[in-house]
Amino acid sequence: MTMTKDGFCSYGNAREQALMGYLYDEMSPDELAQFDRHLSGCLVCRAELDSLTAVRSEMGAWQAPVPAGQIAVRVAAVEPAVEPRPVLRPRHAWQRTWSEIPAWAQAAAAVLVIGASAGLANLDVSYGAGGLSVRTGWRHQAAPVAVAAVQHEASPLVPNPVVASVVTDAPGAMPVATIESVPSAATAASASASASDDEAMLRRVRALVQESEKRQQRELALRLAEYTRESQSQRQADLVRIDQTLGLYQRNTGMEVLRTQQQLNSLVQRVSEQR
């Protein structure tokens, strides 16, 4: 017996689990056979299954809107490629050696190279009233000629900043600024990656802004359409109400006229009888 006299199911605690398994057809054959047997004698469970099936059927009406066009921006337009996994191919010995050196050691080597270059260029750094002077070359002149100097008005409140002058008075000597601006291979790669990241980010931001603008325009158009529709339906409702009210007044007036005519008739009848 699966249903008590007072209409309650006696399947036990596993009833909800069994109902869901049956409803969504996810039961083992044994469970299915057992619950089938129960269902054949339980009106409560059968009724509940019917009502839950009806709910599922109604839920089918809830469709997600289908947006026009693509929803997600494609990766090529916004992002750099996923860092590809390294392709294994034979490399030169020096490449292998360099790649095996840790990054800190590579950076230290770069600093050493720059230092050595500065030494070879006979770097002369001096600090005076005119600011910081950096001089390169083997031949000294009496007064250094500033090629690029930033003049700063001395102020008693603001400390005078260091003014750097790069002097190139040795024939064939390379300006230090130029030397420093020559990046090491690692720096160049990092700078180019960073520039690429920036560009990708910029492209992505632009794409998102455009996307957002389009959405806002669409939203605005929808709101306007909705507003128009609502005002039209409101107008229709008002017209119907006015029509009904006028009809009511007309009916009332007609009744009033009828009643007055009846009273007049009755009066005329009485007067004629008295005569």
């Binding site: 909800e16 869901m20 996994r85 959405r215």
Partner: protein, 190 residues
């Protein structure tokens, strides 16, 4: 012949962007629908969909293939929806009613569907959406994943991080609330 997700993932990992775009094409609508039914708003659903693929693309090297690619995407999208709902509860946003436009109605009409049927379907759709909003997040998510995405109890349990029996209980309780709410809506209409 279409490539399985796993092949496209492998090619994307090799740097082939077009393969990832194919994955987007294949999954953007289900992910959008999931977000829409979880959040109830088109704009946010679109944002969540966009962000899901962006995150997936960035995290692709970390995808080990232990779960299905679709399950992985669902997980990302559900996490984003959950974050969104949390933010919204902290600082509620007043939304304009997102009703259905007549033009959209006309576009949505199935060729064989009369305008009366269409209006009835739209009404029912609105009632279902309204009733779904009354459900707790876990129940709503379980129902959406089961009813509209056809996931198994076990897949839902994995995504929600709960036992399988809890999924069934959430479904049962959710459907029971929906039944009551839909009956109430029908009563009001009548």
């Amino acid at each position: 012949m279409t490539s399985p997700d796993e092949d496209l993932v492998a090619r994307s990992l090799g740097g082939d962007q077009e393969s990832f775009n194919q994955l987007i094409l294949r999954w953007e609508r289900p992910i959008y629908a999931l977000a829409y039914r979880t959040l109830g708003r088109e704009e946010e659903a679109r944002d969540v969909c966009q962000e899901t693929f962006l995150r997936a693309y960035r995290s692709l090297p970390g995808f080990r293939g232990q779960a299905k690619f679709s399950s992985w995407l669902y997980r990302i999208a559900l996490n984003l929806c959950r974050d969104f709902l949390r933010r919204e509860r902290r600082a509620p946003i007043v939304h304009m009613p997102e009703d259905v436009d007549l033009m959209e109605l006309a576009v949505a009409a199935e060729p064989s569907e009369s305008i009366e049927d269409l209006v009835t379907r739209k009404d029912l759709s609105r009632h279902v959406a309204k009733a779904m909003k009354r459900l707790p997040d876990e129940q709503r998510t379980a129902i959406v994943l089961k009813e509209y995405h056809g996931l198994t109890f076990q897949e839902i349990a994995d995504l929600q991080g709960c036992p399988l029996s809890t999924v069934k209980t959430r479904l049962y309780q959710g459907l029971t609330v929906l039944r009551r709410e839909l009956a109430r809506s029908a009563g009001q209409v009548a």
